[in-house]
Symmetry: C4
């Protein structure tokens, strides 16, 4: 199949579209009425199937309509399986799709129902991973703008990665050392049974979650915990400041250093073609 | 009534004000002494009536002065009913007022007392919705400035809506998946009785509230919870950064809304004298 | 005493300093060696006296050295009383000092010990209000810079007061309405005994403190609580963004709009006296 | 040994490297293949040894493979001791290294194992201080960039130190006064047994950790606690704003460190060609 075309769009403009081209357009694109209708229907199906799994996990509801919910789950799974197979058939490079993020999520969304009967427990509830498919929603509601924003956000976080890594390293090392110190100070009798357990407590405390299932009992332990709390409370400042500054930086309208050849004034925008003071061409 | 005038101001400058005009000025406006006095009195009445409902809900106080409080509640309700009727009478377009935000709040503030006798329980306590009427206070204390600020704030949040939607989607999907995972790992014996219950726990944990009524007991559950805490703790960074940057942006270089008369493009600086795209004079 | 001089500085440069002038300099100023020594000694005395009250409140320590601590408390109180009298004597306008913030704190710091014997309970422990006197420390350690910063901070918060008031109003009204709703939904059996109690719970939840002494038990209550948590978690964004933007605004180096008369270029700092490009006088 | 060379680099370019030079390069530098291999191996050894101590503290694991873990701990300790001795030998100024931050950490990382046998309890678990050695990791992964970022961060925090000190003073004084007030209001019967204990509660509350092991029971106490929570919740705004503004500031207009040769003043812009104060050429 040596025809040159993009992996994603199988339609060739110079011949009438085959059924696979039509199928591709409906399933993968959202800019035709049929494509949009398909995506909206899919979105509701995903929401409904996630809801079914949730309701099934509630004992009182399961006792009443458990049979119905199990049937619904199988119906949704079979529908999603057909959709998955169709996607594999009508895309030009099936492996590329199958190994992409969405391809893997689509597979994981149907697998648990099929495997569950052979596994003990409630393995079929793993199907809630279907919730990840909701990310497709961004594409449907003309959310191109949103994706740009998401990418601006991702860029700001990416630009801050070095600072954030330094920050996270300090947090992790603090948790290890503080957790061990509390294990030695408080001891197993006060709930700090092991270093990992104490590290769990340290994370609960530094993130200000504070369940209270484990709490220091001794004076020294309380003093150390108080210091950790203030540290944890203050630490959030640092990454917040970093990302804020990065986003503010990104949002700042860049100026060129170009000088107007006519009035010798500066401060022109990157996209300026004429001096904003005298109108001469730049 | 085909006279052309604004819906809000029924006063016609060319004839002596009728009693409805005077009434309108006192009740709806706050720029005459009578109008301001009315608004301040109303504010105190609202505060007092909210306080009455609150006190009535405290068993020990209700036992002592319950009778007085019930009478006070009826007095306030009748006063607010009279006020509501007056508002309907003296405004030019009653339906527009009745269906506006404040009109609905004003109605909801009196309804519960009338309906409560026919309902079981403590339905009349819904009158605390009166607290919403306190929002009128902004108008009284020359808070025009405040409203501008509120609107600047609303604008910054609105400008960030795409980023915030992306952020909230990620939070919701995380809560669904993490909640389900914890339900499978911890199971009903440790308090994670169903997926909705586990999602409640996931929200309590990610927002760092941490009641501790449900807490992971197994090692794997604790490890996953620790990851969720750090995620939740870090996530607050993102929207904070977004809104900060947006507000900083708003506070920065103002652009004029002027459009170039030649090329009809926007985005010119306040100090621009020529269009930066085509050089035409602005 | 009609001599014209400032209320604070009683020293007249044209005659030898009286003992009151010397006393004033030592007690009120910190720029002479004696004045600085006095301030440092005072700081340690305050810290020690606060520590004494703290230790006295610990039952096990009180049982052992209670007598010593009570004597120490009286010694510190008498010392601070002498200091207070000296301040009154050597300052030129005693009433102005007595009614200033520091004057009132200085009085409140000694009163409890004297009144306590006539009151039941542990009233003398109110002497910990002495801790407020530590604010004087700012003056001692050449913290003039710090005070400038504190004032920059106060200014940024002051400039944001309208936005912050709007924000706090929304929070208070949310707490009243959400608290009442939870009181109706959960009822006294689940700990939401009254509206004030439920408002306390609402504040504990929205600020993400989350003690867990009161927590929703019903499904509807949990759903509403989850919404409140996300609201409270998100709300912190708003004032943070406001103050950040305000501070960033304040920190921005202001430029003049002045143009160099020689090279016609802009972008000069407020404090510039010469053009930074060609060196011509501005 | 009067040869003039830097304390850190003992290699002289004009004679063949001695074994100490080679040893120095491998242990202290990371820019040769051998040096990098050594650093990566060291990193894994540190991680493994921290993991060994952690696992040993878990009772169930200790019961099964305790003997193996104790042997592993001794092996790692002996390896790190050899490494410490080698570092002392091959560095030119051993005392400077021994007294540097990393030198002290390297010593503290091996001491506990040797001293523990002579001490009661689990003192050897102090070896987790080895986790601090992980900070060396920054050097290995070409993290020079990261260190620059870390230093930018440190600089922003340092530049905010005055504001942060003012902020922390206010927090500490609030904690002392609020803690004492709650001790008087709630009393020992509700868990507020002493002032230090109440201060611990105040910190737990203001940082929004909220364990719930101590919580106010009286109405007045709850009201005061509610105020403290809102204070604590709002306070985080202040330092966040400060550091954000400082970082945004740092990211903005860079100044040169150039000093005017004529008037010896600083603060010139990067693009300045003439001193903005006196006009002299830079």
């Amino acid at each position: 199949m040596p025809r040159i075309r993009s992996a994603e769009s199988p339609r060739k403009p110079d011949h009438p579209p085959t059924w696979r081209d039509v199928c591709y357009e409906i399933i993968f694109e959202a800019d035709t009425p049929a494509g949009k209708a398909f995506d909206v229907a899919l979105l509701f199906a995903i929401l409904a199937s996630v809801l079914v799994v949730m309701l099934e996990s509630v004992a009182s509801i399961e006792a009443r309509i458990g049979q119905t919910l199990r049937i619904a789950e199988w119906v949704f799974t079979i529908l999603f399986t057909l959709e998955y197979i169709l996607r594999l058939i009508c895309v030009r490079r099936p492996w590329k799709y199958a190994l992409s993020f969405y391809g893997i999520v689509d597979l994981l969304a149907i697998l648990p129902t099929y495997i569950a009967p052979f596994l003990p427990g409630q393995a079929h509830r793993l199907t809630v991973i279907r919730a990840l498919r909701l990310l497709r929603a961004f594409r449907i509601f003309k959310l191109a703008q949103m994706l740009t924003e998401a990418s601006a956000l991702r860029h700001a976080i990416w630009a801050s990665r070095a600072k954030v890594t330094v920050f996270l390293s300090v947090v992790v090392i603090s948790v290890v050392i503080m957790g061990s110190a509390m294990h030695l100070i408080e001891g197993p009798d006060n709930g700090f049974t092991s270093i990992p357990q104490s590290m769990y407590w340290a994370i609960v405390t530094m993130t200000t979650v504070g369940y209270g299932d484990i709490a220091p009992q001794t004076e020294v332990g309380k003093a150390l915990a108080a210091i950790m709390m203030i540290m944890g409370y203050s630490m959030i400042i640092v990454p917040t400041g970093i990302v804020s500054a990065e986003l503010a930086q990104a949002a700042r309208k860049p100026l060129t250093t170009q000088v107007c050849p006519n009035c010798v004034r500066e401060g022109h925008d990157i996209d300026a073609k004429h001096c904003k003071f005298c109108g001469a061409e730049l």
